[in-house]
Symmetry: C2
Subunit: 251 residues, 2 copies
């Protein structure tokens, strides 16, 4: 049986905690990692405060195979992530020659590198760079911590670059069915199905439609696709027994 | 000076960590609390695992004035939040007479309350109920922990109900300007402005437009509106000095 590989995501930025910005990076990262067999088990969102970032990253990097951070690696004073990560590892920040060279090319000459841009080449000693095909300024990797930009387009491009190099584990397969059934009607049967098969979970997600008609999506997850498919067939049978039609939905 | 009141948000649900569902509750809660002068300082997202929920809620409730949880209080086996919160406080779950009575009315008679529905009346001893004007099954409050549904429409209705009863603190005002300026060009000036005024932060948020033209939004936050407005005027002047036009945006 393949090992379970776990990850944590650390979202960094005052704009998330104030509600100014809706985070979408958690979902993007979770989906991309899921396809590689890496399961996100915890997310934290913290403000642009160095000590808070240090504390979070030091807890998460010891509890998970991978930690992915987003936000706070730009040119302005409120971009504090590189400094915080360096301190979390007891390393110093220094001008990374490779990152500097990339910026010089991107900005068409050293004379165009103002202090803000130069800041983006300050990388913890010993870190490997993460390519940024969108706007050049790189992310970086220190041990199992992957430090990426917060702008979703850049973050996604960085993830695409690192994904092939991650060690994947058992892929968590997911199959779902949906019906206009109140979830309470099938609650007992769902618990029985989850108990019947080893290594699966059954999630029940109600939605409130405008006409208040109940609608529930049932999601079976597990690393053994055959068992997942058996269990989801049982869920479909359960719904039909309760007198409701089953609609298939793409997972 | 008014006290700073802080909150943490705990999002509970496998469907968030798998990437199946995009969480929007963090943003909704952060905005609503912000208007009441309560600042969200930390967010955690955890799976439907009782021990994990217990650990998170016990850390957060000691570090913040308020904790708001969403998800996991429905009728099915994967709804584990009420049990976890009860255990976190060392309390028992029992059938809450008030919650039960509401469900009996909603489902038009005790005979329609199947075990799943009955589960939604199992509330930790000593908890106060949070009204659910959408689908009846209530949330609850135990000390400083507010336990709410995950469905955004229900969660929002629950928040609207509890909001007037929360103790608000100093409101964090926010004013912003935007320009087609690369943030690195004004980075030094922004840091100076933040240093010039006590109690404000200046956030710089770049956006990548389809035509790759740089666009940056600058957000000044602080509890003293007069100082916030002075600082944002300084930011606008800084941008104009750098040769860019300033657009005002609503905060």
């Amino acid at each position: 049986m393949q090992k379970t590989i776990t990850a944590a995501v650390l979202i960094i930025g005052d704009e998330i905690l104030s509600g100014r910005t809706l985070d979408t990076n958690v979902q993007t990262i979770a989906k991309m990692l899921g396809e590689r067999g890496i399961q996100v088990r915890e997310v934290r969102m913290v403000p642009d405060v160095i000590d808070t970032i240090i504390e979070a990253v030091n807890v998460l990097r010891r509890q998970h195979d991978y930690v992915f951070t987003t936000g706070g690696i730009g040119p302005t004073h409120d971009d504090k992530t590189a400094e915080a990560i360096a301190k979390a590892f007891g390393m110093k920040l220094e001008r990374n020659a490779d990152a500097w060279a990339r910026l010089v090319v991107h900005y068409a000459g050293e004379e165009n590198i103002n202090p803000g841009r130069a800041k983006m080449a300050e990388i913890p000693v010993g870190a490997a760079l993460i390519d940024n095909p969108v706007s050049t300024a790189p992310g970086f990797i220190l041990e199992n911590v992957y430090v990426m930009a917060g702008v979703p387009k850049i973050m996604t491009a960085m993830m695409e670059g690192v994904l092939p190099r991650l060690q994947g584990g058992a892929i968590l397969h997911s199959r779902q069915v949906a019906a206009d059934v109140p979830e309470s009607v099938i609650a007992g049967g769902l618990a029985e199905i989850e108990a019947r098969y080893a290594g699966i979970t059954v999630g029940s997600y109600p939605k409130f439609t405008p006409n208040q008609k109940p609608h529930t999506t049932l999601v079976v997850r597990g690393t053994d696709l055959k068992i997942v498919e058996q269990a989801v067939a049982d869920v479909a049978a359960l719904i039909r027994q309760a007198g409701f039609e089953v609609g298939m939905e793409s997972a």
